[in-house]
Structure formats: structure tokens, C-alpha cells
Amino acid sequence: MLRKHSRALIIALLFLIVVIPSWGGIYDDYIQLILFYIGINVIMATSLNLINGYMGEFSCGHAGFMAVGAYVTSVITVILFAGHPNLGPARLSPQWSVFVFPIALVAGGIAAAVAGLLVAIPSFRTRGDYLAIITLAVNYIVKSAIENMEIIGGPRGFVGMGKVVNGMQQVLNIPWVLIWTFIGALVTIFLIRNFVSSTRGKSVIAIREDEIAAELMSVDTRRTKVVAFMLSSGLAGIAGGLFAHGPGGYINPGTFTILKSTEAMVMVYMGGMGSITGSIMSAIIFTILLELLRPLKVFKWVVIPLLLILLMLFRPEGLMGNRELTDIFPRLRALFPPSDVGLPPQESREVLEYAPVSD
């Protein structure tokens, strides 16, 4: 019984730890901010892990997709609910924002997924170092393109998201954005974990280990790459949309540079390529570390690269390598319903006996 409901229980537990205290005001704004950033970073790290970890590429431009999502989502919400000097007054009354916000997020994600094609298509013919450059160039092109669009503020940035969030809180005074971030992080983990444990999804790892063999064993490598890149960048776009509606209600292209992409990469490599647990853990650790090191001001950005260099020297596979928590503590598997049919059956619990809820 525990198995069937363990997932729901965990979500409820997290909800209890994260959302309720924020709602009730037990957590002050600062802690809520940290939780918010943790959520965003979880999405960024896990989505990048699909490409850099599972598929073994070296994508250096993840922030570019975050930017696409951030701007698309923000333009939609601001046009509808906040109004902007360049874009005209608000079109709808703020009450609707509660329903439109998730739709806008998804729209941002879809836009970012389409942008992911800019990297996916070149990846058909190039790999490794060359593809790294393309991702870099795409990151830069996106940032540069935004800077050239005066209508959305150009290099000075885009504002108005604060009003949108206020509108949502007028309807119901709960920490909306934090809740959506929490949901977003869970959805990210859910989608990616499901995808990579499926036979279809394992083609991503097959590409990393031997792309030619994969192609010859009936794997449509092009399709797999497109799916992986679009999923990864789409989720980054959602992270961007959430990020844009954080406190401050302001974004500018300068946020989405290679430095932000590097942050995502640090989290992925610190956690372990190909480990979702690792990405989650390192997202949490990294966010907290950034905060702890805040008194060092600039030197925190000396400590972090140094840490990663030491990591490369002494534990390059990161915290978790390519293992999940359930690989280290196999007994934990008893708690969760199986996700991957290819895992060894536990003693008498044959995975073939597992029946999903509505069979």
C-alpha cells in the first residue's frame, strides 16, 4: 500500500514543508526567496542534465532558452494584465491572471522548445565541441536579439510582472509564484524521470554511449535528439517564465548570459551526469551555497569555480555519478512504484506484478 501512495505522500510532505509555511507567513520573504530559487534551479539543472548528462552533449547555452521562456511568458501576462508603455494598457482584469498564468508559462515553454530546434537540428551533423559552440552562439544570439527589440525594453529590460503577481494575490493571497515553481519542479522531475526510464527514452543514453550503434539498432537518432532538446529547452523556458515573475518583477537580457548557463552546468556536473537525484541535490546545495557565500561578495564566484575544479580533480563524476538514490539504497525501491521495467526484480516483487492504478 505504501508503494502505491508513496509518491503522493512525498509530494504532500514537500507541500507541507515548502508551501504551507510560506503561505502562513512562518517563512519570511528571504526564505521564500531561497525556496523559489531552489525550485528554479532544480528545473534548470534537471532539464540540462537530460542533454549534458544523459545524452552526453556539451550544451553551454541553457540560459538562452530560459530567456525565451522568460520573455514570452512575461509579454503575455503583462500585455493582458499589467500594461506596458510600449505594449498598451492591460487588456483583462487582474482576476483572470490566476488562470492565465499557467497557460502563459506553458506558452513560454513551447516557445523555448521551438528555440531548442536551433540546437537540435545542427546536432544531427555535429557533436561534441562543435555543438558546444553552436549552443554558445544560440545563447548569445537570443540575448542579442532581445537586446535589439526595443519594444520589449531592449537592454534596459522588461517590467510589469510585479503587477501581474499582485493581481493574482488580489484574488487569493497565497504565494502563487512559489507554488507554481514547486509544481514546475515536480513536473520537471516527473517528466524527465519517466522519459529516461522508458524504452523510448533510453535511446538518449544509447546515443551517448554509441550513436552509430544506436542508429543501426533501429533508433531514430534524429527524432530522439529533437525530443530531448525540445524537452530540455522547453522546461528551461518554464523556469524562465517563473523566474521572471519572481520578486522584483523585472528581467533584462543581461541575466541570461553564458554565466547563467555556467551556473546550470555547475549544478549538473556537481550532481552527476545522468542522475536526477544528483541534479536535485546539487540545485539545493548550490542555491544555499550561493546564499551562504554572499558575505564574500565577489569572492563567492572564486570559491564556486574552485570547488568545481577540485571536484573535477578528485570526484569528477559528481555527487551521485550516474546513480540515483535508489541505486545507493536499493531498499528504498520498495517505497516507490517501479518506473523502469529494466531494473532487477526485488526478491519476490516482480515488476511484472505491478499494476498501475487503472489497468
Partner: protein, 255 residues
């Protein structure tokens, strides 16, 4: 109609002519061999048939369909599978996963099913699991299903590669030097295995080999390549007596 028809297959790598005017009519159920000295172009022929390279010239028809220009995974889905000269398993994956991934083309559920683990997803994954375990069982590999492929001894890895190729449900199986690195006892087992899978899975098999024992004892027909050209063709007995073949392998004086 022959299962596989190759006409005038020629391939250049830049200025180097690797294969020249290769022709073949392969009937269903046949077990034929391709031999020749190192560098003769044998693996290149396989690569051309599988779509790894697009031939400079020539025609390849499989089951009536023109497969030149198709992507390798499409050709595999049509029914041609292969093993490799140097083992190309996905070493860090389990043996079971190696078999599963090769069934990519047979998967019917869609992306949404994969993302959300719908009942349809589970039903089909169980099917795939069943099929994979069955296949492994048939090839005496079930005990190793959950082992990392790279941890297996060499001979077993070769068998896993064959199992993986079989998982794609092929009609034509290309074996590239399956006996490489094997001792005589293992080769005997391999002989039996090849015969057995041909019958069990109703396959047509085409083998590249250096081990004369293997080729001569199981192949019904043999083609000999040297510097990309076909220098002889016939039954094992005919090939063994062919002076050109002997010359290509052993040099002038012996002939």
C-alpha cells in the same frame, strides 16, 4: 524474388576506391559468407548495405524496396540487422537494456505515454520486457540480464550483440567477424548457434569471417573480395581450390 539484390555497388572514400562493382542475389534462408584479406572492403560492403555510408554508385534492393539513401535506422526497421567487428554494445547499460533499446522501432506508444507513464505505456513495456527476457533465455543469457554489458566476458558479449541484433526482428542478419578472438571450442558453439538462429528465427544470414573453419563449414556460398573487387564466388570447395583466392591470401609463390 531474392530477399536482397545488390547491383554494381561501388564506393569511393575520397580518392580511394573501397568497393568496386559488387553484385549479389541473396535468397531467403541462405547462409552465405564474405571473405578476403584485411582491408579488402568487406566491412565497407556491410556498412553500405546498412546505410552507414551512401554508396557512390550502385543499387541495393531489400525485399523489393530500394534502400539506397535511407537512414540506417529505417533500413534496420525494414529488416536488416548486424553485429560489429569490434563489439559496439552499450557497455554501461545492462544486457537487458541493450535488448530493450534495440526494439525502439517496434515501440507503439507515443511521447505522451512515455512522459506520463500511462497504462498503455505500462502494457507495452511489460510486453517488451517479456520479449526481451524470452530472447535472452533462448540465447542462454537470461542469467546475465541485469549485468552491465561491459562486465561480461568477451564471448558472452559477442552473444549479447547477436541477441541485440535479433531483438530488432530482422529478416537478414549481417555478422561481421563473429568468431574474432574465439578459441576452437567457442567457434564450435558459434557454428551451432548460427545454424540454430537461422532456423529458429527464419533468418537469412550473411557472414564476414577470417576463420576458414567457420566459413567453410557453415556457408553454402562464398564471395571473395580483394582490394574491393570480387575475385571469386562459389561453394566452399570451389573457393578453397581457387588459385586466385589462394594468391590473394598467401601470395604468389604458394599459388
Amino acid at each position: 524474388m531474392p530477399l536482397c539484390q545488390i547491383r554494381g555497388l561501388t564506393h569511393y572514400f575520397g580518392g580511394l576506391r573501397a568497393v568496386y562493382d559488387f553484385n549479389l542475389d541473396l535468397e531467403e534462408g541462405e547462409l552465405i559468407g564474405l571473405i578476403g584479406p584485411n582491408g579488402a572492403g568487406k566491412t565497407t560492403v556491410f556498412n553500405l548495405v546498412c546505410g552507414v555510408y551512401r554508396p557512390t554508385e550502385g543499387e541495393i534492393r531489400f525485399n523489393g524496396t530500394d534502400i539506397v539513401g535511407l537512414r540506417p535506422h529505417q533500413i534496420t526497421a525494414l529488416g536488416i540487422a548486424r553485429t560489429f567487428q569490434n563489439i559496439r554494445l552499450w557497455g554501461q547499460r545492462t544486457v537487458l537494456d541493450n535488448i530493450r533499446i534495440a526494439q525502439y522501432a517496434r515501440v507503439r506508444y507515443g511521447l505522451l505515454d512515455a512522459f506520463f507513464h500511462t497504462p498503455r505505456y505500462w502494457a507495452e513495456e511489460k510486453e517488451i520486457l517479456h520479449r526481451s527476457l524470452e530472447l535472452l533465455d533462448l540465447l542462454d543469457l537470461k542469467a546475465y540480464a541485469y549485468e552491465q554489458a561491459q562486465n561480461l566476458p568477451y564471448g558472452l558479449q559477442r552473444r549479447v550483440e547477436i541477441a541485440r541484433a535479433l531483438a530488432t526482428q530482422p529478416r537478414l542478419l549481417l555478422l561481421d567477424e563473429p568468431a574474432a578472438g574465439m578459441n576452437p571450442a567457442e567457434i564450435e558453439d558459434l557454428l551451432d548457434l548460427i545454424h540454430w538462429i537461422r532456423d529458429q528465427f527464419h533468418l537469412t544470414i550473411w557472414v564476414i569471417e577470417h576463420q576458414m573453419r567457420l566459413i567453410m563449414s557453415i556457408c553454402e556460398r562464398i564471395k571473395v573480395l580483394d582490394f574491393g573487387e570480387t575475385i571469386a564466388e562459389g561453394t566452399p570447395a570451389e573457393i578453397q581450390a581457387n588459385p586466385r583466392v589462394i594468391q590473394a591470401y598467401l601470395g604468389e609463390e604458394v599459388a
